[in-house]
Symmetry: C2
Subunit: 291 residues, 2 copies
């Protein structure tokens, strides 16, 4: 992320006067709305940056839906609809096919949006609208010393699938068709102390959760489930796009969904993240910091 | 609008299974949410298509907010927040300044969004979230024979201001800083039978209102207030970007805001739009049909 972008995001955060606004990038806005709580997120994907040129538009559509619903999942929010910003690319038929498939899979209606033409690289955006199923809505900022750190499933699968796609051989679904863990997020929301989806790499996202919570997170890297050869464990922990849920809960919590203990929370002690006993300084090399 | 886009929008409309979804382009999605009604809209603006390259980013930010809030205004919805999709352009400071100004002017919080890099032409999107103040929420489709057709104020101002901007002389505000008529829309919502904002040209938008309502609209062009020399009346009625509210109401309605009678509604008679007694066939030449 270039320095200018950080300053810009900081300026935008200052503009975000609603104290419930969680700011930019992965997170959602949480907004009281009548007796309900609205959870909103918007992700933009740029051809050549967030997806490869030449990829099947049906897969792009699927991913666009999934990455946004994954943000809602981390809030335990039930999706109620999406708004699409679509730049025409000449192969709209495949995009509609993938969009239809994703909307049916998640049982979410398309509510509206906008179509535009006119740029070299295609730019797509999706706003997902959800209804909170539990308040307070889980955030990254609630982890408490003594909590256990959990991950809903393996990471690294998207990395292996990306390479399979690149090399034209092997299982590619984890890269092309990621799944948002919507029902898992809803089930977990009442008992987690903090939750987020892993979109930019487990270690980077864990660092963000620790920083937001003002705690130190200790991770035993060997305990993290991976969908990759053991020799690539370090990479698997840093690759994004797996969309597992990372959360903290009291050590004695009875979890309603399968999850793996991968570490623990302790009081802030100077370090934000400790891997196998070694403190990590800064986020460099922990994952995908995108612009 | 290229033919492919129309087919695509039709396909998207089919995907929009929620019967309340109004579909694509200018209109809003209307969604029951608890005891309230949510009104959502998303407009995308592409550099070189929807705004000139080289224009002050502060003006672009203002317009991005205004065009979206104008969509809410036509629904009588009170804005509760916006989500921004922002592509970095290198001059973020000016954009933030204009955004700040617009959000303060409309008293609307920035709730979140996404920032991205990576395209030649800048692409910006905004999702505006509103709360309906009156149900049923006004739509384009409710005009009834016998109603009067009204316009809140003059059109053509944006055209003149665009030319002033292009020529470097004269009053440019109507082009650079359009106003969304939010409070007017809220005041009108309880008594209109149909309402929309004029963003693509008065005649084109009137045609759309008539078609959505299944009626014939008769407009006396001389009664339309314009902010342009009389010799340019025909153009003023076809130029977009003025964001006045166009609405129908019973002939005896007492309007809470100033508005001009510009025509009347009669039962469908083959023609959708009749100008000074002359039927208009099709939308060609009525306004700005954008891609």
């Amino acid at each position: 992320m270039p320095r200018g972008e950080l300053a810009f995001i900081a300026a935008l955060r200052e503009l975000a006067r609603n104290p419930a606004a969680r700011g930019f990038e992965d997170d959602c806005a949480v907004l009281p709305f009548g007796a309900e709580t609205l959870v909103l997120t918007h992700d933009t994907m740029v051809e050549g940056v967030h997806y490869l040129s030449g990829i099947d538009p049906a897969d792009v559509a699927w991913k666009l839906v999934s990455v946004n619903l994954s943000d809602l999942a981390a809030k335990g929010a039930k999706p109620v609809g999406v708004l699409l910003s679509y730049m025409l690319c000449g192969d709209e038929e495949r995009f509609v096919a993938g969009l239809d498939e994703a909307l049916k899979f998640y049982d979410v209606p398309l509510l509206g949006g906008d179509t535009v033409g006119g740029s070299e690289a295609q730019v797509l955006g999706l706003t997902a609208v959800g209804r909170a199923t539990h308040t307070p809505v889980p955030s990254r900022g609630g982890a408490r010393p003594g909590d256990t750190l959990y991950l809903t499933g393996p990471v690294g699968g998207a990395m292996m699938a990306f390479e399979a796609y690149r090399d034209g051989a092997g299982e590619r679904a984890a890269y092309l068709r990621p799944l948002a863990l919507v029902s898992e997020g809803i089930a977990l929301a009442p008992l987690v102390t903090a939750m987020m989806d892993v979109s930019d790499g487990l270690l980077l996202d864990a660092f963000r959760l620790a920083r937001a919570s003002g705690v130190t997170l200790e991770i035993e890297t060997a305990s993290v489930p991976i969908d990759a050869p053991e020799g690539r464990r370090a990479e698997a922990l840093r690759w994004g796009d797996d969309y597992q849920l990372l959360f903290t809960a009291p050590a004695d919590a009875r979890l309603p969904v399968a999850a793996h203990r991968i570490g623990s929370v302790r009081a802030a002690s100077g370090e934000t993240l400790v891997l196998d006993g070694e403190p990590v300084s800064g986020t460099s090399g922990l994952g995908y910091e995108h612009g």
